[in-house]
Symmetry: C2
Subunit: 157 residues, 2 copies
DNA sequence: TACGATAATGATAATCATTATTGTTTTAGG
DNA sequence: CCTAAAACAATAATGATTATCATTATCGTA
């Protein structure tokens, strides 16, 4: 396992939404379990609001706050990854294996990139070299047009 | 010049704040000039609000909207870079030379990283390889503790 | 030098994403 | 069962950013 596999997953800001005392174990909740499940199966990198819409099927009166609470919680405990695009709401990804993301500037979809994380390792090393702090993780984001948008754009000519 | 030097600067979302017709040249404005100047000289990667505070010295009744408008405009025309941290307001950087950023998860400062952009090129190539869209730019963000925070943290023991 | 078209501004309302608050319901251990 | 507190739903509040609109500044031209 590379160093990166330890350090890359998730954005590192803590917003624990549950027990005051972080040593007390989490209690079970059907809502959280369902959110976790949904993230585990979808590849759509949904926003909090999309997760909310989806949860309403099973829990007609779930609260948006509950969705946020649990997305933050899952992110904090490393069971989800938060993705922060420059111009829209955060997305969440249940796939915590280190991987990279692509952001389509036209349709604003987020796609996984099939890019070996080993590629990033030297970058990480190089960055740590002449830096007097401690680099704990890195995150590479790619921008451009997704396949669909390229097709659509060419049809518009 | 590498491909990257063309594509890396700035986040690629357009929010033009000025002329309806983008072919008409920009008019001069003292506020915009001052904002541009401030970005050019500072290394602090200020938020819109910090720019606003700074501008108020010279323009006591400048509007925050004007600051946002011009920061967006400068970003659009490639004279500034927008940096979007995962948990706080956007920062702006007048240095449009391709470079990377470090984000301190403790004090939330943003620092430039002395990392040769050549390091990133292979990553960019690799990402483009098996991807059916068009990758136009990439952005690598590093997280961790800055030098000051490392020092402070060790003193607290 | 004044004039007119419109870009740019200041003031502020509106929007959007997210977090905080509060009272109620669930969970899980005794 | 009973109870403490975790988790919830509902919703108010916050923070960042954008939209609106009436006024002012810029700049080419009369």
């Amino acid at each position: 396992m590379s160093t990166l596999e330890h350090t890359l997953p998730g954005h590192p800001h803590m917003t624990r939404a549950a027990p005051k005392d972080p040593t007390t174990p989490l209690r079970h909740s059907r809502q959280r379990e369902s959110i976790r499940q949904f993230l585990a199966t979808t590849r759509e990198h949904p926003t909090a609001d999309l997760v909310y819409q989806h949860m309403k099927v099973e829990f007609p009166n779930i609260s948006l706050a509950t969705v946020y609470r649990n997305l933050n919680l899952l992110t904090d405990i490393g069971e989800a990854i938060r993705i922060t695009p420059p111009d829209s709401a955060d997305r969440f990804d249940g796939n915590t294996m280190p991987h990279n993301h692509f952001y389509c500037t036209r349709c604003k979809c987020i796609l996984d990139l099939d890019l070996d994380m080993e590629e990033i390792e030297p970058l990480y090393q190089a960055a740590s070299a002449n830096f007097d702090g401690i680099i704990e993780s890195s995150n590479t984001f790619f921008f451009g047009l997704c396949g669909n948008c390229v097709k659509t754009a060419s049809e518009l000519v």
